[in-house]
Subunit: 206 residues, 2 copies
DNA sequence: ATGATTATTTTTGTATACAATTTTAAAAAT
DNA sequence: ATTTTTAAAATTGTATACAAAAATAATCAT
């Protein structure tokens, strides 16, 4: 986080605003005013402007507001995730090397034993490891983009971990370990479908 | 193209530069200098700057240069395309309505009968119609992003249409028309794989 | 009071300025 | 002639200024 040489005004602005958005510190309704951030950071509007454009392209901002993903957005994103992460799971079952497999196992363990924050991080990491093992830049980028938008949604939904989630991760891991591509893919898809259903269920009564 | 009220400087710059890139009018080596475009368009650097950032996020520009997709990039993009467009073809076989089916048929016809330019456009449109019929915003966006990068590649490769391409489109259309989701998906995947192979083959001896 | 109209303030889009950085060219040293 | 060093030029990142547009508040008419 803290680098020796001070980050550029643009980077500062980008990270500052992004953080605020992902932490849910900005209401979906409130307008993202350039000058407000500029003053808060002690920089000019120019770099703030660029940061906002970037966040807009990233899908976190639209029309100068924090994006509020709809149910339909969620469904769309999860359909794409199921296709891509399903394939990533398949690739993992075919090719993942032992050291990465060990890392994957580690995610499950620390998800089981850790505190709330650790559990959340490990669960996310479980997916990240599988996706990155695909070695497919575009796949990784695409999924990451959606992840942050989904995360946005999660924050608003007050995420308590879904029952069964860890067991599903374990099953996926086993399928990968046993070199069962079809099964790994199917389990990953089911897992994501269950996740989506959970999201939709919760978002209903809030 | 020509709107009544003059487009913003930013939009002008964005479209101008994007056009130049996609038409291959800018060498991959040459640096994209803000001031050059600013002067060419009679605007200041500010909007040009934003346009360049946008194009960068879009994947057409990196490090102030026009992106030159590598073979590995192509493979990665096509793998994602196969997954997503395969699914789109499946959805089309399940749900596409008669009027859209007619449009799809039209793409094939005008691809057969038209001149070079028309053929190229219709072939692209064939895919676009199927993808858009998915009604999945994120899927459409993701594919579009990759399409323009692939197009970039194609330009440099001097695209003459691949033998068999139209027949494959016809087969896909038939599978969709006959409501055969599995077949439609499989054919679409094969079609894209053949496309990729063709690209890689041509790019080899140039 | 409610809605329309006008005035005021805020915010944005773009231009311009300038120091810091990067690139390129020139000069010097090996 | 190639490499290193130094100087010059080009380019970028950021700040500031200001007119145009948008949002908000105030006034008036119904």
């Amino acid at each position: 986080m803290s680098t020796s040489k001070r980050a550029s005004a643009y980077t500062q602005a980008y990270e500052y605003i992004r953080e605020q958005i992902l932490n849910g510190e900005i209401e979906g309704k409130t307008k993202l005013v350039e000058d407000r951030f500029a003053k808060a950071l002690g920089v000019s509007r120019t770099p703030v402007r660029e940061a906002l454009r970037k966040l807009e392209e990233e899908g976190l901002v639209r029309d100068k507001r924090v994006v509020q993903p709809t149910e339909s957005d969620l469904r769309d994103m999860f359909r794409v995730r199921m296709l891509l992460e399903g394939d990533a799971a398949r690739l993992a079952a075919n090719y993942m090397d032992p050291s990465t497999l060990a890392i994957l196992k580690g995610c499950i363990d620390s998800s089981k034993n850790g505190n709330y924050e650790e559990t959340m991080t490990s669960n996310k990491q479980f997916h990240d490891v599988i996706v990155e093992a695909s070695n497919n830049t575009f796949m990784i980028e695409t999924i990451n983009r959606m992840q942050s938008i989904i995360y946005l949604f999660r924050k608003t939904v007050v995420y308590h971990n879904r029952p069964g989630l860890i067991e599903e991760h374990e099953d996926i891991y086993q399928a990968i370990l046993n070199r069962e591509p079809d099964r790994a893919e199917a389990l990953m898809k089911d897992h994501l479908q269950a996740d989506l259903d959970f999201f939709l269920h919760i978002s209903r009564n809030r």
